[in-house]
């Protein structure tokens, strides 16, 4: 086999420079500046564009890395700033619940019905959304209710996804966008689960994005206190087995006086906190450590839902008293009447520590004793986990796999772990070391990664300067490709290796997408730059002769699709 292929490659290399890097290994020191810029942009951005190449050539590789690691000075377009003001991202979890939660929607439906004279009773709080449907009018209300729930979820998901994709495509702070994807995935939640449908955008914006290049401890703390995480991994239900029914605040506003029977340890979050978020599965903890950590985390949840509903009820009555003509768009505008400020706990992130549900006994985790002091214990144990050498190693491995190659060398992981520990888990410092490592620049690691469907999508849009107007086609593609945005069900997030994503159906699917997109058939997602020479500059490696000749032979209308669907475009 070798006898045939090697001379053929050599022969081609005389004819054209269009060979891929892998075919002819070069030594790192002989790499041209342009090749280096190409590699750097492949990894730091979601896909280089012809304008990026010019930018980095002008400012130099070093300055570019520095500016990406500390992006505060890079201006972001007003357009993107405007998008990020969406309520789905900016409102607090309590505000979102009060406006888009099921009780609010139920109330809005009833209010409307009362105004239309369909029901006689004055407004009253309805306890659950699942009241039995005995007659037609109730079926009608349920239909209306379901419709409004769907609308609410679409608003949140649509705005959140549009934000994410538009920023990933257009933001000049590319590393920030790459790291937002990386860390969201690391601390994954799924918008398919209950309340996380309405909290997913707020989670990304307030718990992930501010810290993606900051300290790991801050990121860990913010996710641990975000309502979306506490709900996703069930910690809001984790309580001491013999806890009282909750503190006064919760009890007084409990709408139905039913006794709270949900008491006892739930170790779901505690386990994933060690296995996925910090130490790693081989990080040296035991089942006993999981149970002890779960005890530390008892009482950390969200303000009692009853409290939020009670609040909603009172506010609703006041609002209606002010304006009896509220229409069925009421729920959309409801937020203006309500201030969620009086709810206790962390207002920005939505957590609430309820001492009455906490286990105040002493605990031992990883050999360290924690005195039963309540909320403080949580911060102490997060400190311990964030500083732990196993965490350093786990995070370093994941970064190296994401930025260097699918099976990163142990030497690199070890070096990065040291940097992590010395810098107290400063992410920009660790990444700085990574971008200056020999392994990162090693030619055999260049162009060695296979794009995930998400990266394929974003790089396609970047290559063609596409400003998305409608997020649906992008979201649909990701769903078909098995990587639905914000909907990875399990807490381990999506993989980012070739093994996970290269399979026959998935490849054909990409080519179908590239074809439909290039032909302008996806509504709200039209390619802006279609000049082949410009788009071709986005190829992560030089175009092979094979690809080049196939494109030349193809009808003009197909040429853009062939560039975006070429084997070269699948890697980076």
């Amino acid at each position: 086999m070798q006898n045939k292929v090697v001379p053929a490659l050599l022969a081609l290399s005389l004819l054209t420079s269009g060979l891929n890097v892998n075919a002819l290994p070069q030594k790192a020191e002989t790499q041209s500046e342009n090749d280096k810029i190409q590699h750097l942009l492949n990894r730091i951005t979601f896909g280089k564009t012809y304008s990026d190449i010019g930018l980095v050539s002008k400012m130099g590789i070093e300055n570019y890395i520095k500016s990406q690691l500390h992006p505060q000075g890079i201006a972001v377009s007003e357009d993107l700033e405007e998008l990020s003001k969406a309520e789905a991202l900016q409102a607090s979890p309590a505000q979102l619940f009060i406006k888009y939660g099921r009780p609010a929607i139920k109330a809005a439906v009833q209010n409307q019905e009362q105004l239309e004279g369909k029901i006689q009773k004055p407004f009253e709080l309805v306890k659950g959304a699942n009241a039995s449907d005995k007659d037609n009018s109730k079926t009608e209300s349920k239909k209306q209710f379901n419709k409004m729930v769907r609308e609410a979820n679409q608003i949140i998901y649509g705005d959140t996804a549009l934000n994410r994709i538009a920023r990933a495509v257009e933001s000049p702070r590319q590393l920030e966008e790459v790291m937002t994807d990386f860390w969201f995935n690391h601390f994954n939640i799924s918008s398919d689960k209950g309340l996380d449908k309405i909290w997913v955008g707020a989670y990304e914006e307030k718990a992930i994005r501010p810290y993606v290049l900051g300290r790991f401890r801050d990121l860990l703390g913010a996710t641990a206190h975000h309502a979306a995480m506490l709900f996703y991994l069930d910690n809001w239900q984790n309580s001491a087995p013999k806890a009282s029914d909750g503190d006064d605040f919760a009890q007084n506003l409990q709408p139905n006086k039913k006794k709270n029977n949900n008491k006892g340890i739930n170790e779901n979050y505690a386990r994933e906190l060690m296995e996925l978020h910090t130490l790693g599965v081989d990080g040296g903890y035991t089942q006993k450590d999981v149970t002890e950590l779960a005890r530390v985390l008892t009482g950390l949840g969200t303000p009692n839902r009853g409290a939020m509903i009670g609040k909603l009820n009172r506010q609703f009555k006041n609002a209606r008293a002010q304006n009896p003509m509220m229409n069925n768009r009421f729920v959309r505008n409801y937020g203006q009447f309500v201030s969620a400020d009086q709810l206790p706990g962390n207002k920005l992130l939505g957590s609430y520590f309820d001492p009455a549900r906490h286990d105040f006994g002493d605990k031992v985790i990883l050999g360290t004793k924690f005195k039963g002091e309540g909320e403080k214990e949580i911060e102490q144990v997060l400190d311990l986990l964030a500083k732990h050498p196993s965490t350093a190693k786990h995070i370093s491995y994941q970064l190296a796999q994401y930025f260097v190659c699918d099976k990163p060398p142990a030497s690199l992981v070890e070096n990065l772990s040291q940097v992590y520990l010395k810098s107290d888990g400063d992410i920009a410092t660790v990444l700085g070391a990574l971008f200056h490592s020999n392994e990162f620049w090693d030619v055999k690691n260049q162009n060695a990664k296979f794009k995930s469907p998400y990266r394929f999508l974003i790089s396609t849009l970047r290559a063609t300067d596409t400003r998305i107007e409608d997020v649906k086609p992008a979201v649909n593609y990701l769903r078909q490709a098995g990587m639905p945005l914000y909907q990875c069900l399990t807490p381990d997030g999506y993989k980012n290796t070739q093994e996970a994503w290269l399979n026959p159906d998935n490849l054909v699917n990409r080519l179908n997408f590239a074809t439909a997109f290039s032909a302008g058939r996806l509504r709200g997602m039209q390619p802006q730059t279609t000049r082949l020479d410009l788009v071709a500059q986005s190829l992560p490696s030089k175009m092979s002769e094979k690809t080049n000749s196939a494109i030349k032979k193809a009808p003009k209308a197909m040429q853009l699709a062939l560039i975006l669907g070429s084997p070269e475009f699948m890697k980076y």
Binding site: M1, V5, D234, Q237, N238, S239, P241, N261, N262, K263, G264, I265, N266, E267, N268, R271, E275, V281, Q287, V290, Q480, A481, G482, M483, L489, T490, D492, E499, A500, W501, L502, N503, P504, D505, N506, L507, V508, N509, L511, N512, T515, A516, K546, T547, A550, I551, K553, A554, P555, M558, L562, G565, S566, P567, M570
Partner: protein, 415 residues
């Protein structure tokens, strides 16, 4: 000779060297010849609660350990379906009760992976690689199994339902990944001029992209053909033109038809999620019951759609580990250890339970909290599938390297 060709030859060679009378399967595999049995593996991800699937209704400890989530006994309304008095079947699994009555369904109690991990991801990984405790093996056991079967060179020898290739199917043998869509419709690459342009670019590169592209196009062709057959169209018509996307029952029917229409399918894999019931799992009704209902109907419809092909098909349902015996503080259960393996097929001596049951006393539980694993999942798979698909003991060793079958807990389960 590439690795795959080598394995195929090895498979043939070991067939001819088989020691006569060693085990029943030896004889059978000769008569089966080209037409070896088919296998459908269903993986319930998230660790299904085996104690709800098969509640030990005859054990009072079951009720004291699970005051809120136990399934009532068969005498009560909405209670467990009667199996043998001590164990019942979850009422939501009523669709598969007839299989039990026809002796084509059985369960292996206290079975699973010997590795004690309670991490979903590690446990799934081990159950799919077939080598618990080792992270260095890159192929899945189902792919290694395929390499042992006589190759029919079909791009749809192995079907994976879903958008990504799971660990269990990774390896050198090509797998047709089939992402179910709401309806079959023409895609750009179904048009000859478009596929020709991409073929020009992808074919003959001698690399992984070239190979993957060719497999993708070939499988697409086979699927399209199978779907055009009349039975398939009838089914599509019955569903109002749309195949349910998120329902196993839809997949079950779709997959069953595909296997029936396309005789070259040897193995199919399907994974379902949503069994990680830490909170409010419910009892006869509720969250888990809804999930089980989907599974039960799905299996029933799969088997109905297989029609007479079911005679030659074995369906295995596995999950990474079981759940805690005692319910947790939230009417749910946490990660445990031992679980059940479900087996369906003509060659299953069904209507009976297998494996060792050690009760629910604290001191017979694994680490004082979980069901123990007394039957290694590889024991069940190696003997059942080896028999069903005509594999020699050598070949079974290739499928499950390093595993020495020894225990007799499932003796007699396979005809």
């Amino acid at each position: 000779m590439n690795r795959r060709e080598f394995l195929k030859t090895a498979a043939l060679a070991s067939c001819s060297l088989m020691v006569p009378g060693m085990e029943a399967w030896a004889l059978e595999s000769k008569t089966v010849g080209k037409n070896t049995g088919k296998l459908v593996v269903v993986f319930l991800r998230g660790a299904i609660d085996g104690l709800s699937v098969l509640p030990p209704v005859g054990d009072s400890r079951y009720y004291s350990l699970r005051p809120r989530i136990a399934i009532p006994s068969s005498q009560s309304e909405n209670g467990a379906l009667y199996l043998d008095g001590h164990f019942g079947l979850h009422p939501a699994l009523a669709p598969i009760l007839p299989l039990w009555k026809n002796k084509k369904l059985s369960f292996v109690l206290n079975s699973g992976s010997p590795n004690p991990t309670r991490s979903h991801f590690d446990a799934q990984d081990y159950m799919e690689s077939g080598v618990p405790g080792s992270k260095s093996i890159s192929t899945g056991w189902l792919n290694r199994l395929l390499a042992q079967l006589p190759s029919n060179d079909s791009p749809v020898r192995a079907i994976n339902i879903g958008a990504t290739t799971p660990r269990i199917l990774s390896g050198p043998v090509a797998v047709a990944t089939y992402a179910p869509t709401a309806k079959r419709r023409m895609t750009p690459l179904d048009q000859p001029n478009i596929s020709a342009a991409f073929s020009e670019m992808y074919s003959g590169r001698n690399d992984v992209f070239s190979k993957t592209f060719e497999q993708g196009m070939a499988a697409r062709g086979e699927f399209n053909e199978a779907f055009e057959k009349s039975a398939m169209q009838e089914m599509v018509a019955a569903d109002g033109g749309a195949l349910p996307a998120n329902k196993f029952s839809g997949f079950g029917r779709q997959l069953g038809r595909l296997i029936k229409e396309e005789p070259k399918v040897q193995v199919a894999f399907l994974a379902l999620g949503g069994f990680d019931t830490h909170v409010n799992q419910g009892a006869s009704q509720g969250q888990l019951a809804n999930q089980l209902n989907t599974v039960g109907r799905g299996l029933q419809e799969l088997i109905a759609a297989l029609d007479d092909t079911f005679n030659n098909t074995m369906v295995v349902v596995i999950s990474e580990f079981g759940r805690t015996v005692k319910e947790n503080g939230n009417g749910g259960t946490d990660h445990g250890h031992g679980n059940l393996i479900w087996l369906m097929g003509n060659r299953v001596n069904g209507g009976k339970l297998y494996g060792n049951w050690s009760g629910l006393d604290q001191n017979s539980l694994f680490e004082g909290r979980d069901l123990p694993v007394m039957t290694d999942f590889r024991n069940v798979l190696a003997s059942g599938i080896g028999n069903h698909m005509g594999l020699s003991s050598k070949q079974r060793e290739i499928v499950f390297p390093g595993y020495m079958p020894g225990d007799k807990t499932v003796a007699g389960i396979f005809a």
